[in-house]
Amino acid sequence: MQTSKRVLLRCAVAACALLAIGAGAGSYPAYLISLAMVNVIAAVGLNLLVGNSGQISLCHSSFMAVGAYSSSLLASTVGLPFWASIPAGALVAAIVGALLGLPARRLSGIYLALATLGFLQIVQIIIEEFSDITGGVRGLNTAKPALLGTPLTSYGIYCAVTVVCVAAVWLAINIKRSRIGREFDAVRLSPHAAQALGISVARVKLTAFSLSAGYAGLAGGLFAILVGFIDPNEFGIGSSLKQLTYIVVGGLGSIGGSVVGAALLSGLPELLRPIKEYTDFAAALILLAALLFMPHGLAAAWHRVTPKRGKTTGDVPA
């Protein structure tokens, strides 16, 4: 079978399996699974930027905030239904991502890290200071999503998140295998060689920033309807590091890695529930240990035990 059809088939099977699990599981497990799926969307988007095109981003959670706030505000002020407000929020995030990409095109390494850190702070401050629109530090209650006038049940929201998540992963797999994905790889491995081959490095970086911001915005919008409440704390540097942990543990540049990393680590707070106060500490240690001892992540370990696939994840981006 053709690879593209195989991918589509696998995604469809995964979607059906998730929908069945959600129907069978209780409402709290289903809620946790949907949160994990939101994290998967964010992680897949971040990995396209960090793992594939080799950029550093510390502000992925800010794009999530942009998506969450703009979709919630569009729903509450303009009255857009959720199926329109969430894509609109993702679009706004993608545009903001492109705007940040404009200056970021010229930067790399620690300078890019600094610029994205500065952007994260600016977004945090804007949310906190313009509290008559955003609710400030006290947060914002989001409108209940409804379809054709009837409010969505919690399983309805679960289904929406599942469909979007599987579609996002499917899209990412195809992007990675497309011309854009190969350009990302070229820019990561050698920007000079890529430029010499006629790839516009600046345009590729811009695409990567915008695309990954769009994914984050999508995750943000879904997060808002899923939880029903957003506040700036949810989108601080801690969340950015959490998302980076997903892809470092899963494997930089690997979509399967992002999915597994995000899904596994989303369960961490539940696992540590009896010793809840240790969650942050444990998360920091996991990130540090992954960087020191397993820099290629679970994906590389997986390829080592199944060598017939013979694919390496390539170098960690510079």
Binding site: P103, I110, F281, L287, L288, L291, P295, V316
Partner: protein, 291 residues
């Protein structure tokens, strides 16, 4: 009246900026020596503040607490360099950035675990009674911070200019290979850099503790410290200090002239603008390569 008001503001700005300057200095020294930008450096300040808290709870006087804090900062820096930084010093920028962030997060959450989020207030070494001089009311704690910042800058400047290990560090930062051939131990030079920077970080925490109270969020100072370091050009000791004071003045005057929102946003807008137009800072040398 008007002039003295602005003078008063300027002094407040310089005092705030002195803390940023110390943090910027503690970022720039290891960056200069080993090319590692430590995003966890702010947490060294937090550690310094809590070390001061513990020591003063034993009833030790300030002139004992301060040197002990500085020395323990140096020891923590040495341990961090050996255990966590050296294994990844050759790794790509991404790994180093995220790893130093993770170190900071680990320290911060460990502190929050032990002491909780409630701030402890401590008194400055010279009390809080303002000194009135020529129509100006000067807070002794602020003056002490400025004095320490100036003294440390001079010390670090002299260390790099005259002291043997300081000169060795400069050699390593210019060309590690040639320095090794001249008999300089590169690792030794990294050790010096981390010990110095961590002790400055711890000192910054000790100094700022009476002003902001001791809490796990002291490490957030690093954000302004980073802006200061970029402003100063990342590779220059004096640039970092001038950058720090500039950020302090900017914040203070923006707060009075343009309000709180602008005050909070200003440092980061400056950071973004700088990175776009002058990534090598106002005093640094051009080293960014464009593709």
């Amino acid at each position: 009246m008007q002039a003295s008001f602005y003078l008063q503001l300027a002094i407040a700005g310089i005092s705030v900026g002195s803390v940023y300057a110390l943090i910027a200095l503690s970022i720039v020294v290891p960056f200069k020596a080993s090319g590692v930008l430590n995003f966890g450096q702010g947490e060294l300040a937090t550690l310094g503040a809590y070390a001061a808290l513990v020591l003063s709870q034993y009833g030790l006087p300030y002139y004992v607490v301060a040197p002990v804090v500085i020395v323990s900062g140096a020891v923590i820096g040495l341990v961090m360099e050996r255990v966590l930084i050296r294994p990844i010093i050759k790794a790509p920028a991404f790994t180093v950035v995220i790893a130093t962030f993770a170190i900071g997060l680990a320290i911060k959450s460990a502190i929050a675990l032990h002491w909780g989020d409630t701030p402890f207030s401590v008194e400055g070494p010279f009390g809080d009674e303002p000194i009135v001089a020529g129509g100006l009311r000067l807070n002794p704690t602020s003056l002490w911070i400025v004095f320490c910042a100036v003294a440390i800058t001079a010390l670090v400047g002299c260390f790099f200019k005259y002291a043997r290990p300081g000169k060795a560090m400069r050699a390593v930062s210019i060309n590690p290979e040639a320095a090794t051939l001249m008999g300089i131990k590169v690792n030794g030079s990294y050790r010096w850099a981390w010990a110095i920077s961590s002790s400055i970080g711890a000192l910054a925490g000790l100094l700022v503790a009476p002003v902001v109270g001791i809490n796990p969020e002291i490490g957030g100072l690093i954000l302004r410290g980073l802006v200061a370091a970029v402003l100063g050009g990342f590779s220059s000791v004096y640039g970092a200090v001038i950058g720090g004071i500039a950020v302090g003045l900017l914040e203070t005057f923006a707060a009075v002239g343009l309000g709180g929102t602008v005050k909070n946003l200003a440092p980061f807008l400056v950071l973004l603008l700088l990175l776009v137009f002058r990534p090598y800072g106002l005093f640094g040398s051009r080293e960014i390569h464009r593709v």
